[in-house]
């Protein structure tokens, strides 16, 4: 393998990994606060992409306006989803709320088939983002450069919110013990809504970036990325924001390098993602950056 090919593979891996990282953050945030695996995350991701698509095609809004509108809409949608599907079950056994999440996921997929139609749609990608740039013999499109930058910027902002602000302190309190936080006059509902808002916002942003990079929409487009990013979050240590980013990049690198070094096994690329998950869980059950937590009784 020549050096330039290797560089091309590295660029491909980082650009895919950053997209995984972006979506994995949303999973990990919700889990960190509520200990809930939000199975509908992938479908919120799909919804964000569709809303942006319709803003651009039906209302002919410029792409960045469409992006903002879609993100805000999806964030509120996420808050609404939590209120309808998860809040009434917060004090029920954990399994009930998980089943509710799965139900929400199926509901959103079926609604999307009914409303948006089952046929795939092509996304009008803005020219600025789809331009090809070259570094020597390595080439990539602008969007592949933008996504990692945004991922790291969002990571920094989120770490600041969680660790330095009052809301962040409340989030950490709820994460440690909901009852105790409530006794300390933390408005748990507000914190949870805020978390879902942020999580859905990230999902929408990820979905739109995804649809700009792979310009094709269909109602089930969130299923596989949802699963992969869940894996990324678990590998990194679910609940840890930096861990999610690390897991996302790791997954992207493994997937690309599998094909790069073992081209004959390129059909088994998804399998490698799952093998990586199993290996990490066997060696370090809490994930790479996860903290061991004493089981609350």
């Amino acid at each position: 393998m020549t050096l330039s090919l290797l560089f091309q593979h590295i660029v491909n891996a980082l650009s895919l990994g950053s997209l995984y990282a972006l979506i994995a953050i949303g999973y990990t945030m919700v889990y960190g606060i509520l200990r809930l695996i939000n199975f509908a995350h992938g479908d919120v991701f799909m919804l964000g992409a569709y809303v942006a698509f319709y803003m651009m095609t039906l209302l002919s809004l410029p792409w960045w306006v469409a992006l903002l509108v879609a993100i805000v809409f999806t964030a509120f949608f996420g808050i609404g989803l939590e209120r309808v599907a998860y809040r009434p079950l917060r004090d029920s056994p954990r399994i009930s709320i998980m089943i509710s999440a799965i139900a929400a996921s199926f509901l959103l997929e079926s609604l999307a088939v009914l409303i948006f139609g089952g046929r795939p749609k092509g996304v009008p990608v803005p020219d600025v983002l789809s331009r090809v740039i070259h570094f020597g013999s390595v080439s990539m499109i602008v969007i592949s450069l933008i996504i990692p930058l945004f991922t790291f910027a969002l990571l920094a902002v989120l770490l600041w919110i969680v660790n330095k602000t009052k809301t962040g302190m409340a989030m950490r309190a709820v994460s440690t013990d909901i009852e105790a936080a409530r006794l300390m006059a933390v408005d748990v509902n507000k914190v949870v809504s805020f978390t879902f808002g942020i999580g859905s916002l990230l999902a929408a942003f990820g979905g739109i970036m995804w649809s700009f990079k792979y310009p094709q929409l269909n109602p089930l487009m969130g299923v596989m990325p949802g699963l992969k990013c869940f894996i990324a979050a678990v590998i990194g240590g679910i609940g840890s924001i930096s861990g999610a980013v690390l897991g996302g990049f790791l997954l992207g690198i493994i997937e690309i390098m599998t094909v790069a070094f073992l081209p004959t096994l390129s059909g088994y690329r998804d399998a490698f993602a799952f093998i990586l998950l199993i290996v990490v869980l066997l060696v370090k059950p809490t994930g790479l950056l996860g903290k061991r937590q004493a089981e609350k009784v």
Binding site: M1, T2, L5, Q8, H9, N12, A13, S15, L16, V113, G117, G118, R119, P120, K121, G122, V123, V132, H134, S137, S139, M140, I141, W210, Y214, P215, Q216, N218, P219, L220, M224, E255, I256, M257, T258, V259, A260, P263, S266, G267, R269, D270
Partner: protein, 383 residues
């Protein structure tokens, strides 16, 4: 005693109701439409359904013996999924009790229905499923299109003779029987034409539903082929070609009949300009009287140019209808025999004659993409 009388009266009443409603039913002949209407292949399925519905509007009845039946379409969505496809086929033959099945777009989906129609002894007419295994060892599955050994040879010939290609790379959808089969037939023919056992430099795989192909395409770059053959589902294929252009790959892309859907151009946009693929039918060269009827009526109803698979949907319906008419009976075995001996039936896509495997022997059409439209290049007669 009183209770018993009431019970008997009730039973008699219900029985009378059932009998009264019963005999009204068998005035229709049911055609099961077995197509992907959601999921990755929905674009293709929708095009075939358009053709079937158009045929149903123009020819809504069938003459069986001296009685005229109305043809009812029972549409079942196989959701682009092999497991769902088996369920949908089972439902058509068991619950809906259809007389004949039409479809499906996608050889894998048709193959999932194969054993089910065979067990139920219901004949199925495939429309655009080209993998040889669909009809092989299944006397109940027929099709109105050519098969992949022919299609693969047509494209290998095009690569070798028209493009002067000596070395090719294949990118295939490894979980799709159609793609794997067609890739193999292309490889065999291409090796034979070039006389070079190593004419295929590499075969790279991806999975249905994948969106990122950058790693595979970076590998392709390494091999420096003259041509890339990438048969597969249209959305994945469009993304592959788009990402190839982004990586600076300028080698021509060749593909198969599945590319001819509006979504292929919609997703691929400028990137798919100039790609070349084989398909079944071109509106530029109407072949029979039926072609003219089909083209006129389609343009009138949909106000656009039909896709090849839409014409095949139209033909599949007519072939099944013609067979039932010739059978003069709704007996499953008689229908099967009648379809099997279909000969020189003038369909929209040309004269349809089925061979001993139940496959139509027909010419192939080569098309390209120009200015965001599918454009006819040439016709290749069967060898």
């Amino acid at each position: 005693m009183k209770k018993a009388v009431v019970t008997v009266l009730l039973v008699v009443g219900i029985a009378a109701l059932i009998v009264a409603c019963g005999p009204a039913a068998p005035e229709t002949v049911k055609f099961g439409v077995f197509e992907p209407l959601t999921g990755a292949n929905a674009g293709g399925g929708a095009l075939e359904v358009e053709g079937i519905k158009l045929a149903n509007e123009l020819y809504p009845t069938v003459q069986v013996g001296d009685k005229e039946y109305k043809i009812e379409l029972v549409i079942a969505d196989n959701k682009s999924d092999k497991v769902e496809a088996a369920n949908a086929a089972q439902r058509l033959v068991d619950k809906d009790k259809v007389n004949v099945v039409l479809g499906s777009w996608g050889s894998s989906l048709s193959m999932a229905a194969g054993p089910i129609v065979k067990n139920a002894k219901v004949s199925a007419v495939g429309l655009s499923c080209t993998n040889p295994l669909v009809t092989k060892d299944n006397e109940y599955y027929f099709r109105v299109c050519f098969i992949d050994p022919f299609q693969g040879t047509v494209m290998a010939n095009y690569a070798f003779k028209d493009l002067g290609a000596k070395k090719a790379v294949i990118i295939r959808e490894v979980s799709n029987d159609y793609s794997v089969g067609l890739a193999k037939f292309f490889a065999d023919a291409f090796k034979q034409l070039t006389g070079d056992e190593n004419a295929i430099l590499a075969e790279l795989n991806y999975n249905t539903g994948d969106t990122d192909f950058s790693a595979q395409l970076t590998e392709v770059k390494k091999f420096r082929p003259d041509v890339i053959f990438a048969p597969g589902n249209y959305t994945e294929s469009a993304l592959i070609i788009k990402q190839a252009k982004e990586l600076g790959i300028t080698v021509p892309f060749l593909g198969g009949d599945t590319w001819e859907t509006p979504e292929f151009i919609d997703v691929g946009k400028e990137a798919v300009e100039g790609v070349v693929f084989s398909t079944f039918f071109a509106t530029e060269t109407p072949i029979t009287e039926t072609s003219k009827v089909f083209l006129d009526e389609y343009r009138k109803k949909y106000n656009k140019e039909p896709a090849a698979v839409t014409a095949l949907g139209f033909d599949g319906y007519l072939v099944a209808r013609d067979a039932i008419q010739r059978a003069g009976s709704l007996d499953k075995e008689k229908i099967r025999e009648a379809i099997a001996v279909t000969k020189d039936y003038p369909g929209a896509t040309g004269m349809i004659s089925l061979n001993e495997d139940g496959d139509a022997v027909k010419s192939a059409v080569i098309k390209t993409v120009k200015d965001g439209k599918f454009v006819y290049m040439t016709t290749v007669e069967p060898y």
